[in-house]
């Protein structure tokens, strides 16, 4: 029985097998049973000069995927990259090889989970404003990364080195102890499109049972995964607030192109959705702001309900509550011009939210990002892109 889900199970002259994995896990004081877990095969390559490359770029997303699916990772690390991978827990399959010498390396599911937790801890520091990163502050970034002993390439690969500025909204200085001014953001990103951070948002879909949601999700995910040009399909249940109510909903994310858009149109048509909104990476034209408020704590249902009332009273049409792994609750509000939103209005609304939070004494941190909203409609209208106009092109792809 093989341990890798890839057709190519050999690398650097080594054939991977369960016995090797189990023996090395035992030598590392880990559970031998983890050798029987499914493993994802990777090329763990990174260039010596930049510490960026195929392997390092893949690593973050694949780590998260493996963690979600309780899988391990395995692959051959070239020598110049092996120190990099050792920093987040690689185990060398060949016990006589060590970081610095390269060779086959692997992470059992427990090590994957530990690596993701480490990444999340750093992300949390960034989010809390304990680390403020900006491309314009390269030396600061490097200094921070040296201090936390974290591989810079991972942060770069995931976009953490984009301009990420947070603003402390509560009274007084930031909980980290740094002064308010350190956390003042520019409210709109405003950097090159490749430097921006994209955000996710949930869907509102009323009148559906959990099982209906799951059935639809399985159907759509299967369709997306059948499209060759679409990758990293991710879906989860969600809670969206739309037109004043909180409803069963779902979130779908993917890396893809127009084929995926056609699949979304077909799905929207089948499900009789009024519209489908896609928040795509910014293009420089038709982009719009999106804002997250992170509260650093878990808010109970009663307090969120009151927040919903306040947000609705401010005139906001929709928003999403979510939580981050190992962290508190966040609120996400995107500006969608197709639904009547304007960047100016969004900024005014966000300032109103800021004002209300400050008045409440409720501490939160603000993250402003830029997205490219694209909307597909069921019904025709001026300037609308309808389902019919883009559907029907996923057959046979």
């Amino acid at each position: 029985m093989g341990v890798c889900e890839t057709k190519d199970r050999s690398d650097a002259g080594a054939q991977y097998n369960i016995e090797q994995f189990a023996n090395r896990l035992a030598e590392e004081g880990r559970d031998r049973a983890e050798a029987n877990a499914p493993y994802i095969y990777l090329d763990l390559l990174a260039s010596r000069e930049s510490h960026q490359g195929y392997g390092s770029e893949l690593m973050f997303n694949v780590l998260r995927r493996a963690d979600r699916e309780n899988r391990g990772l395995v692959g051959g690390a070239i020598d110049s990259a092996s120190d990099y991978y050792a920093q987040f827990g690689a185990i060398w399959l060949d016990r006589y090889r060590q970081p610095g010498s390269g060779g086959p390396a692997f992470w059992p599911p427990s090590a994957v989970h530990e690596a993701v937790r480490m990444l999340d801890a750093i992300a949390e520091q960034v989010r809390k404003g304990e680390i403020t990163l900006s491309l314009a502050e390269g030396p600061v970034v490097r200094g921070v990364l040296r201090r936390v002993r974290f591989p810079e390439t991972l942060l770069t690969a995931e976009g953490f080195s984009s301009t990420i500025k947070t603003r402390h909204l509560g009274p007084g200085d930031h909980p980290s102890g740094s002064p308010q001014t350190v956390h003042a953001g520019d409210g709109g990103g405003g950097k090159g499109k490749d430097e921006r951070t994209r955000v996710g948002i949930t869907a509102a879909h009323p009148g559906m049972s959990t099982e209906q949601v799951r059935r639809q999700l399985r159907h759509l995910i299967g369709r997306l995964r059948g499209i060759k040009s679409v990758s990293n399909v991710y879906a989860t249940h969600a809670l969206g607030t739309y037109r004043g109510g909180q409803e069963a909903s779902y979130l779908i994310e993917y890396d893809g192109n127009g084929r995926a858009r056609a699949a979304m149109a077909e799905f929207g048509l089948e499900q009789n959705q009024e519209s489908v909104l896609m928040l795509e990476p910014p293009t420089g034209e038709g982009d719009a702001p999106s804002t997250d408020f992170s509260f650093g704590t878990r808010l109970n249902v009663e307090s969120r309900a009151r927040m919903n009332t306040l947000l609705g009273d401010l005139g906001l049409g929709g928003w999403t509550w979510y939580r981050q792994r190992g962290s508190g609750h966040s609120l996400r509000i995107a500006c969608v011009p197709q639904y009547g939103g304007t960047p100016e209005g969004h900024r005014r609304d966000m300032e109103a939210v800021v004002g209300s939070l400050a008045e409440l004494g409720l501490q939160a941190e603000r993250l402003d990002t830029t997205v490219h909203p694209a909307v597909l409609w069921r019904d025709q209208g001026e300037g609308r892109v309808t389902y019919d106009s883009v559907s029907g092109s996923t057959e046979g792809v």
Partner: protein, 55 residues
């Protein structure tokens, strides 16, 4: 800032909850999202009318 009566009531109750430290609670009904998602397209479905029952 002018609020509706309902919003003012919600505001007052929420402020008291903040002051009393009773805003924290369970999050089992909330989705878990990546804190930052880079380079991805995110899809949101907005509800339309329910499909009529077949048959």
């Amino acid at each position: 800032m002018t609020r509706s009566a309902e919003a003012q009531k919600a505001f007052d109750e929420l402020k008291k909850m903040v002051e009393d430290g009773t805003i924290e609670g369970d999050d089992s009904d909330l989705p878990e999202l990546e804190p930052i998602t880079a380079g991805r397209t995110v899809v949101v479905f907005f509800p339309g009318k329910e499909k009529p029952d077949e048959g």
